[in-house]
């Protein structure tokens, strides 16, 4: 009896501590969301707060008026995320498959070829010179999708391990006896069977593309190629960038001042909105992905 109550008390303490940590984890996020709904004058006098005295939708109505820049950035991000994730899944799984086949003569050489990219890299300077002077990707959509993010050795090994652990050699032999070619086995047998690992890797790759800003930072100067993250970077520096075309004028002919403080936060909120919406539904898979990834590294 006594040990039961001890256990309960222990659990209660654990719950209290974790609640405090969770509040710390979410607090900045809540502050940002509340700030985006706060009246601009209130922000100027009292700063960002959790319980503002006056709320306002001004920031969002302004964003709707200036929607074209934001929609464009959103489309760029969605496009790069879809293209990048699809390509990444294709490349990652297709290089991982031969690495997992025991009868492939060069599997060790191939594994080392992939592994070495984890040990050594040339760094930003040669990479930058190569992409800009040989491939001329500066200010193209390729710049957002191709460099760095497409394929990591870490993901390749994750998929390879899945192939070699959960797909028995007998499966390949049976398919071969049925006269299937290696291409056939890969596309019709292996790829469909690898949905769980593909989904896990795809989820994290998609998140990486949604959150990516370095490629545009290195390789893009033309704002037309800015995704949502780079738009956010730009707006942190200069809120006026949101004005499209001629600045609108008030009745007195003065340029209207932007509710800059709340707009910044509103835009950041819009930028993470998809994650906020998707996360509660897929949190199980995110957590599983973290655990699976942990097996190696």
């Amino acid at each position: 009896m006594k040990s039961m109550s001890d256990e309960k008390r222990f659990r209660l303490i654990v719950t209290i501590i974790l609640t405090l940590f969770s509040i710390v984890a979410l607090f900045p996020m809540i502050l940002l969301v509340v700030a985006s709904f706060t009246d601009e004058n209130e922000l100027i006098t009292h700063g960002y707060q959790i319980l503002p005295r006056k709320l306002s939708l001004e920031a969002y109505s302004y964003m709707v008026k200036q929607a074209s820049t934001i929609i464009r950035a959103y489309l760029v991000t969605i496009g790069t995320t879809i293209a990048g994730t699809a390509l990444s899944i294709f490349l990652t799984s297709s290089i991982a498959y031969p690495m997992a086949r025991k009868n492939f003569k060069y599997r060790n050489a191939l594994s080392f070829f992939v592994y070495f990219t984890m040990l050594f890299n040339g760094g930003l300077v040669p990479q930058y010179i190569m992409w800009t002077t040989f491939f001329h990707i500066k200010n193209t959509y390729f710049a957002l999708v191709i460099p760095n993010l497409l394929m990591t050795a870490f993901n390749i090994f994750l998929v390879r391990n899945y192939y070699s652990n959960s797909l028995p050699e007998a499966l390949f032999e049976a398919a071969q006896l049925d006269g299937a070619s290696e291409f056939g086995i890969y596309t019709k047998v292996v790829f469909p069977l690898s949905k769980p690992v593909i989904a896990t890797v795809g989820l994290f790759v998609a998140l990486a593309y949604w959150n990516s800003w370095t490629n545009a930072l290195y390789y893009v100067t033309d704002p037309k190629y800015f995704g949502i993250q780079n738009l956010l970077m730009r707006i942190m520096k200069n809120i006026e960038y949101l004005r499209t075309g001629a600045a609108e004028m008030s009745a007195e002919g003065q340029a209207v001042t932007l509710p800059g403080n709340s707009i910044r936060m509103a835009l950041a909120f819009v930028g993470i909105l998809p994650i906020v919406i998707i996360y509660p539904m897929l949190q199980k898979y995110f957590i599983k992905g973290v655990v699976v990834g942990a097996v190696k590294g």
Partner: protein
Amino acid sequence: MVIYMTKKRNKKFNKNTLSLFLIALPGCLYLLINNYIPIMGIFVAFKNYSYAKGIWDSPWCGFSNFKFLFITNDAWTITRNTLLYNLAFIVLGTIMSVFLAILLHELGEQLRGKFFQSTLLFPHLLSWVVTAYLVYALLGSSNGFVNNTLLGKDNAIDWYSAKAYWPVILVLVYLWKNAGYTAIVYMAGIAGIDKEIFEAAQIDGAGKVKQIFSITLPMLRPTVIIMTLMSIGRIFYSDFGLFYQVPMNSGALFQVTQTIDTYVYRGLMEQGNIAMSSAAGVYQSMVGFVLVVLANFIVKKKDPENALF
């Protein structure tokens, strides 16, 4: 007949090998371009590079780029910052993650346990750009939460130019963003411990705290050692987003926020100083390589299962 058979088998074998090779080819080409060509390109650091002349025609200059880099204080500053921040991240990150993992494990499969896992992992899913916004909402000098609500306008601190605070701020931001992620990794390690050990301890009258210190922590030790070794292997690399985005590119803070990665970027893109930038990049690649190989060698000795290769 026999000869014919082996020939046929050989042919079939080769055909399979060829097919598998072709399947791997697109991925190989990508790695070749994205990873291997830049490795070969590190010779740029030994040239006096100019965009006008290109990499082939720029004149060689031996080690002079490195000489210039190491004459300046920059080399010392960026090495110190990179190493000390990583050290702080490893020590404090491990302590906090293991602590959180033990707490999360206590609640196990319960609904609130799952809820806490999700909330603690959430910061990890945000980009560094958004994280910089969140930090700005807290620390912005005129309208930040800290200056207005916690300190009051009279005691306000101009955070983005007060470099003394930044080592603490950056460590806190790092922990905020990553501790939940690593905690889940460690939690998986704890979940792998045989439940009977805990049950036996309970029967022997060991309380929860005692169980943590004499079962959970010792059993988790190998995982902690492996994870720490892996981090030590990466100690010469820093998270570019953390050090570039969060301090908002504030020059007043460079002395405590500049790491090798931000230095290479700023040299290349903002100052056009390719000589220093490429030298620092090669310095990072070389030392980083030695450390990763060394760390992995030790991991392999301790626990072959978890070695990278």
